[in-house]
Assembly symmetry: C2
Homo-oligomer: 443 residues x 2
């Protein structure tokens, strides 16, 4: 045993601290199951979130608990893992401690898998108007806003204000933006079309704005083009090469032009967790740690950054590893195995370089519409959608969740409804021009 | 047509305003489906809530959307119903208008079914410490508090503080209190027993306080006694004839005695919605309208109060109609039919008197334990529990909800877990005495 490996006390079991119980962190912890070490899994939330389906909570298709599982339940049977609910506020790589609230947590190995959040590119004042979608709370907030918009439109007498209430601008044409835009159109045109008496929800405008020249930049060109055509066929207005310059109380601005829209959803910028900033190492433009080929933080071989917190390239192709679940899972597993091997061997070995295996990528667009890139081919339509459904259900953690999600989806498929249309939190409607409720017909 | 019936404009369809889309309001609206009238259903929430299962959301067994259905979806096919999301702030029985926010809503018939909320008997300062359970938000808040209590206990080094974190006081021995106490004990002793590494959650104290001399006062004496014995066998401490005199930051006080408890749940007092206060008619001690035998408000034959807002007695027995779902359903249906008949006839008829049909009552206590009073007999144990499950699932609105709830319950039955253990909202733990995270073993 080298002092480098077991620095604090002779004979003590090494401790691996994993920050973040997302895809990457869970995988790293799992690799250490049969290793003689203590694993501390720190997360500020008590649940692991299956983020690829988060937009389905935001669009009232699934319940939060369908896609979120208590971290303690996931690692219950791995006796050497302890779960710590707390927020990491800093890392001291010299003293080898992580700050969790007021406390210090000593580590021998550290895996930083704290993920990413959305960013407004310096325009934080847009945040209240254009919520992003990263947490369960974000999803519930967006669901509330979307459902309330229709309620408010129903009460609105002023035609212009009503139009604005029925206008949804989704900013960002990645998977989240595409999936949100498709789902919003489906809600307006199908799910709730018969629910309102005064307002025709099928006239709702869904506008998808993307700065680049295509949708789904992380996928193939064919997939992006197909997604655009499918969305347009559904009635979504897709605008490429369009940069939002401002969002004010009433409108979304693109240079001189603007559209009155009460509802804006931010699916554009992503920024890594600030935990990387405290490491005093170079970060990329998104705040990600420019990690070594073994995913370690430069100069600190016992500290790894993985998942959305890491800017990593594939060792063979030199291409950036995309910020998707697969990348996080693979990186987490990769560093978990390095730590496992070195603890087992009792010394540092020659470490492998990370290689990303692209198992395909997919995005859903609507009822029986999806696009998928698999093995160099692009699929679309109902086949891609079934594939998307099967794969997403298969990767959900927990048998119960798989069953519930399938029941929900089957029900939606047959009845064309969405079961979780709850407005919770602040339930009040805000009507700028009160409707004349006493006139006939109407209220 | 009498001017009394169609007062505002000749030839206009009569308008029935129903305030509240709970059990009573929905039933009233439903009776008017084939009647030539406009029904406006006003609720401040967009969803109907199946309140008998609300404690299951508070105890992480079900998701909010499992027991809540959008009102618009429920009445979608009843073309003469319009749903209005808004808060009723007053009723003017002279001008026959209901105030909804800034607006006035004219009515020809009015059904007040605004329900009840919890009351602290003048001790509103207890509210932040002892949340009640009436809305989805209440349930999510209690779920968050309960789950966080175990997390905080896990981090706590001070033995006394940890005991307090693991002490749950449920105040009120009615169905909600009994069901909460049983479920909390089950969570601590079974659901999460293997989830924590430092704290032994099976040592958690669940204390159920009831002012009267028995539990489940609305049910038979045998049921109340059985519930007490079953709860005690599970490890719940039941204290009868015990009135809480104060709740401070750390303790629950009963006269000179007190118990340190971080978690308090209020299941004691119920008070009718304040909408009755504006009517200028006599109310009972709980703020309920002392209605006529036809459920109308004294002096206003076109205004009805039903459900938890009404103090009604059975016309035959003279006994009070209990504040349960059955009573609300029966009253709502009763007044809906009166209105239906009078609109159809074009004139007021001789109205029947309300008779309450007691179809039985039941409360669940734990896994395969319940008590049920049916047809003068009391059942308990697994049989009562199956009965309870079947009846509660049968009365859930929406086929999807029935399936989801059954899947959840089946899953819980086999795996002894609870699927909705999510801490949402403010996720931070509050630890009074920070744990020494750097010591071994532990964190």
């Amino acid at each position: 045993m080298t002092p480098e490996l077991y620095p604090t006390r002779a004979g003590r079991r090494p401790r691996v601290v994993v920050v973040g119980a997302g895809f990457a962190g869970l995988q790293a912890a799992r690799q250490l199951a049969r290793v003689d070490c203590d694993v501390v899994l720190v997360d500020r939330r008590n649940h692991h979130l299956f983020q690829p389906l988060l937009y389905q909570v935001a669009t009232a298709a699934l319940s939060p608990a369908d896609i979120a599982v208590p971290i303690r339940a996931i690692v219950r049977d791995q006796a050497n893992v302890q779960v710590l609910l707390g927020e990491v506020t800093g890392v001291d790589v010299v003293r080898r401690v992580v700050n969790v609230g007021y406390d210090e947590l000593r580590y021998d190995w550290l895996v930083l898998a704290a993920g990413a959040t959305h960013t407004y590119f310096g325009n934080d004042r847009w945040a209240p108007r254009a919520p992003g979608l990263k947490t369960i709370e974000d999803a519930i907030d967006i669901r509330r806003r979307v459902l309330l918009a229709f309620e408010e439109a129903e009460l609105e007498d002023d035609e212009e204000v009503r139009r604005a209430k029925l206008t949804f601008v989704v900013i960002g044409g990645g998977p989240t933006g595409v999936e949100m835009a498709g789902a919003l159109r489906e809600i307006a045109a199908e799910t709730i079309a018969d629910d309102f008496r005064r307002v025709d929800t099928t006239t709702a405008r869904i506008i998808l704005l993307e700065g680049g020249d295509r949708l789904l930049a992380s996928m193939s060109e064919a997939a992006g083009e197909r997604a655009r055509r499918d969305l347009e066929a559904m009635g979504v207005e897709v605008r490429l090469e369009t940069f939002v310059t401002d969002i004010d109380e009433a409108r979304v601005w693109v240079g001189e032009h603007s559209v009155p829209a009460a509802n804006v959803i931010w699916a554009a910028g992503v920024k890594a967790s600030p935990v990387g900033e405290g490491l005093d190492v170079p970060l990329d433009g998104q705040g990600r740690v420019l990690v070594e080929s073994d995913c370690s933080v430069p100069g600190h071989p016992h500290v790894f950054a993985v998942g959305d917190l890491a800017a990593q390239v594939d060792a063979t192709t030199g291409e950036s590893v995309p910020g998707v679940a697969q990348g996080a899972i693979q990186m987490g597993r990769f560093v978990g195995r390095i730590i496992r091997d070195e603890i087992t061997a009792g010394e540092e070995g020659i470490r492998p370089s990370f290689r990303y295996i692209d198992r395909g990528d997919m995005a859903t667009i609507g009822r029986a519409r999806a696009v998928a890139d698999i093995g160099g081919r692009t699929f679309h339509g109902a086949f891609a959608w079934v594939l998307w459904s099967v794969i997403h259900v298969a990767f959900l953690i927990g048998f119960r969740n798989k069953v519930l999600v399938m029941v929900n989806w089957a029900w939606q498929w047959f009845v064309q409804t969405r079961g979780a249309r709850l407005i919770t939190g602040s339930p009040s409607v805000h009507v700028e021009e009160p409707a004349d409720l006493s006139r006939d017909p109407g209220y």
